[in-house]
Amino acid sequence: MASTADDGDGELQFRDPEKAEQLTEELESLMDDIGEPVNVMHVCGSHEQAIAKFGLRSILPDDLTVRMGPGCPVCVTNMPEVDEAVALAEEGKIVATYGDMFRVPGTEKSLADAKDEGADVRVVYSASEAAEIAAEEPDREVIFFATGFETTAAPTAAVLTADPPENFSVLSAHKYVPPAMEIVAEMPDTDVDGFLAAGHAAVITGYGLFEDFVSEYDTPAVVGGFEPIDILFALARLLEFIRDDEAGLANAYQRCVTEDGNVPAKEAMWEVFDTTSGEWRGIAEIPDANLVISDDYAHYDARERFDIDVDAGASDPLTEDCICGDIMAGKADPDECELFGEECTPQDPVGACMVSSEGTCKIWLEYGGQPDL
C-alpha cells in the first residue's frame, strides 16, 4: 500500500504550490522512466472539476493524458429514467431531485421544462430534505428522483430505513461504479493504462473493493482525493505502478478512505438496494450497475407504487450528434464535439455532460477545457 501524501511532511498543505511543483517534477521523472505516452482515466466528476479548476492539465507532463470516464452520476442517468420523473411530475405529484438533475434532458423534456409548464418540481440537497417535504405535505405524493453513485445511494438508503412518511417514495436511478469501470476497461478502443478511483465513493465502499478489479483486468488503480495535491500525489503513485508494470492498488486518500469503507452505510445500502442490469446513458448496458429498491422496501419504490405512464415523444434531433457517450468512455474530449459550446450549452444542453457540475462538458466550458497556456 502506498503511503499517504502527508507522510514524512507532517501536516499536508493541500493547496501548497511548492508541494505541487515537487510532485509535478516527480511526474515528469516518472514519465521519463516510462518513456511512452500514458493514458489515465479517473471516474469522478469531482476529480475532473478539481483538475480543471486548479489548471492542473497545464502543468502535467505533455504525454500524460488524464481523461474522465463514466464518473458523472447525472450524465449516466438514462433518458427513460428522466422521462419517468417527468411523467410523475406531470401527473401532479411533487418530484424532488438534486439541482444537477433539474435540466438534464429526457427524451422530450427535462424536469425544468416540466416545471416551466406548471409541474411541482423541487430542488433539494439530500434525500432527507425530500422526505421532509413529504412530512410537510401529507396530502401530496412526494417522489425523490434519486440519482448518484454510492455517495448518494447510501444516504437514500438511510432515509428509507428510518421509516419516512407514507406519502414518500423513491424513483431510483442510483448507479454502482465498479461494474462500469469493468466495462470501460474491456472496451477495445479505450486504452487505459491506469485508473484514478473516486475517493468519494471509496469512502463508502472502501478501497478493498477494487482488489478484484485490479487483478482481473491487470490494470493498476489508485484511490485519490480531490485537492490538487491529492490528485498529483495519486497520479504519481499510479505512474509508479505503470513504470513497474505492476497491476497494483493503492490508497492515496488515507485521511478519508479505509480498506472496508463505511460499514454501516454499506449495510444500509445493500439492505435497501439490489443490483440489476441497466443502460448507462450513451455508454452501454452494464450488468449489475443499476441500484433498484429491494423487495423489502418495495412500498417506497415509486415504480411499484405508481403506474408510470411515460409519454416520451420525439427526442431532440441534435442528440444524434452528441458524443457524450464517447466522452464518458474516455474516447473523446468535449471540444471534439461539434455541438460543444454552440448548440449545446449549460442553459440549453443537448447531452447530459453539459448539465451537471460533475459533467465533463460543463466543466470544460466553465474552466476553459484543456487550454494551451
Binding site: 452520476p73 425544468a112 416551466d116 430542488v123 448518484g148 442553459q347 476553459g368
Partner: protein
Amino acid sequence: MSNSDDDRTADESSGDGYTGDDVITHAHGAGGGQMTDLIEDMAVSRFADSEADVGLAALDDGSVQPIDDDHSVVVTTDSHVVTPLFFRGGDIGRLAISGTVNDLAMMGATDPLALTSSLIIEAGTPQSTVERVTESMRETCAEAGATVTTGDTKVMGSDEIDTLAINTTGVAVVPTGGHVPDAGLSVGDKLIVSGTIGDHGISLLSEREGFDFGGGLASDVQPVNDLVRAAMDAGEVTAMKDPTRGGLATVLNEMADKAGVGIDLDEPAIPVSGPVSSAGEVLGIEPFDVACEGVVAMGVASDDAEAVLEALRDNPKGEDAAIVGEVVEEHTGQVVLDTGFGRRYLTPPEGEQLPRIC
C-alpha cells in the same frame, strides 16, 4: 445600461402556452450571454444613439451625453428585486441606492447630481416594511452624498408582484472627456479590485438555501463613489466596472472583450474572505461568478497602480484592495487565471447557479 439586479431564486414560470425560445426566462436576467443577446435584440437595435460619448450600444454602466462644450451628463438606471428584502449586511433600499450611485461612479461620475426612485409595492405589504426600506435609502444617500429628487409609487395585486421592487435612476455631470468607459483597458495596465469578492452573492445564496456558515458572511452592499473618487485622484483609471450580476468573471471578460486585450489574473492575489471561500466550496459555487455590490474592478495605468492601491486602502471600504493582474496582448478577449498550481481560463458563468449533487 446596467444589469438588472434580479437576485431571486430560480422560479421557472412561463407565459401562457409559450415555450422554449418564445419566453423570457431567468437566464435572460442572469447577466450572461443570453442577457446580452436580449438587450441587443430588444433595445440596442431600437435606441442606439451615435451622437453620445457613450450610448446604449456600448452596454456600459451608464450613458454619457454632451450637454455643452465643456460638460457631459451621465445617466444610469437600475431596477432591484431581491429575496429576502432584508438580508445580512443590507436590504433592498441600500441595494437600490448603492447600485445606481455605483453605476454612475463606474462611469467616472462620482458626484451624483440627483436620483429618482420608483417603488412598486404589493398590496398587503406592511407600511413598516416600506418605511424601513425608504429609511435605509435615506441613510445610504447620506453616505453617498446623493439625494432622491423625484419618484413614483405604484401598488399592484398580490399575484402581480412579490412584495417590493425599486427602480432608481441617477444623473451626474462630468467634464467633457472626464468619463471612464469600461472599454478603456490597454496592454500593460494593472487590474485592481477594491475589496473581497463574492460576499453579496455567496451570502444571499447561503441565506436562501438555509445554510448557516457562522459569522462573517454578509453582503458587501455599499456605495463606492468615494473610493472611486480617491482612485481617480491618485492616478489614471483607464476602465471600470462593478462586478454585480455575473460577478468578477463576467465583468473582466467583458472588459477584455470590449478593449480587444487579454487579462492575466493571479488567483492567490484576489481577495476572497475565508467564510465566502468556504461557503462557496460547500455550495459548489465560485465566488468569482456571483455578485458583489460594494466592490469595483478597475484598470489602472501601470505607473499609477501603487498610488491608486494606496489611495484605496486608505479608505476603510478599500482596505482589502489588491493588484490582481495585468492586461496582456495574448489571448485577446479572454481572461486567464493562474491558480497558483496551473493556468486556466476564467469564463463568465452561464445561467443560474443551482446546488450540486455532491
